[in-house]
Amino acid sequence: MTLAELLSTGLLGLGAAFFLTGTVGLLRFPSTFARLHALTKADNLGLGCVALGLALQADSGWVAAKLALVWGLALVAATASAHLLARCILRERGGTRRTPP
């Protein structure tokens, strides 16, 4: 097993571990904010590790670039949806005073 393969396997395992932790957090944490926190952190890191691990096994730079693009887009989507969810919950609770920029 070469170094790249070893590193790739390690990263894939780490990514899977992050996904598992995130899922446990999503199921077990008490409040919506805590669940959102667990989900976004663990999933984004997990997907990053999986994408990096797969990129190390990729045949060409194009495949690696596509994997990076997938990760970037998933980050954007996760950021926007987490922000919207948190905003919605804040509003339901009466909202917070917004400081003008």
Binding site: L73, V76, T79, A80, H83, L84, R87, R91
Partner: protein, 316 residues
Amino acid sequence: MGLAFDLLLAGGLLGLALQVVASRGLFRSVVLFIALGLLMALAWARLAAPDLALAEAAIGAGLTGALLLSAYRALQPAEEAADPGPAALPRWGALAAAVLSGALVAALGWAALGLEAPAASAGREALARLGESGVKSPLTGVLLGFRAIDTLAEVVVLLVAFLGARVVAEPLQRAGPGPSAPGSGEPVLTAPLLRLVVPMGVIVAGYLLWSGGHQPGGAFQAGAVLAALGVLLRLTGRLQPAAATSPAERLALVGGIVLFSAIGLAGAGTASAVLAYPEAWAYPLILAIETGLAVAIALPLTLLFSGSAGLRWRER
């Protein structure tokens, strides 16, 4: 390893399907249905059918999910007023229906397992004569070459579905997503997200359309991506519902079908038969039809979600 993954996938599909019909809350069922669509797309990808996987993920999970969520939202006030609960079906009736359906599925599966693969199937013949269709992708060759009549009818079905929904939805006060909560400004992340996602979506749709000629992709996938963009723009208020369909929208709704039919009818004179293409022109004609069809697929889907007859850009 592959077998373990397939078993997990099959088990997950069956479990999710059961949850979709058996779970109590309507909202839960809708969300589980979307998850079911995503798993189904994975299953198609495992079966080496990327075209179907793309279509299932975009239309089956994405757009149908959005439509169901929008319908759920419209149902809300009525449900609060008088919640009749699930329809009162006696337990023995449900049991009998389940046993009969199960027996039917088992019998069909048994019969299908007993079938021998025919030596000369239509699929093999289509693959062998793909060169005659003018494109390199077998799926596009079948959809727009060998079985063009089916594709034409499918797009007509979509248009009829949209017209039917308009007839039914006309007296509805609230169809589609409602206005955002009063007093709330636009979330800060919406505009940057749209600036990033919308151009990328247009590129992806164009790429899928173009790649339909030689690899997985085509009008349906491109149309679904465009429709998803339409849903996004409608949800973020960039597109506003309109009471009337504008002439441009009418043209887009029927343009693909008219173009397809016209080229198909012209085939009776210029080529051997109706819906056949003159050999030298097959590829450009198919590309033109696919472009028209992508728009004719995207617009009705967006309008169905919007629950309105037309769409207008928000005035700034």
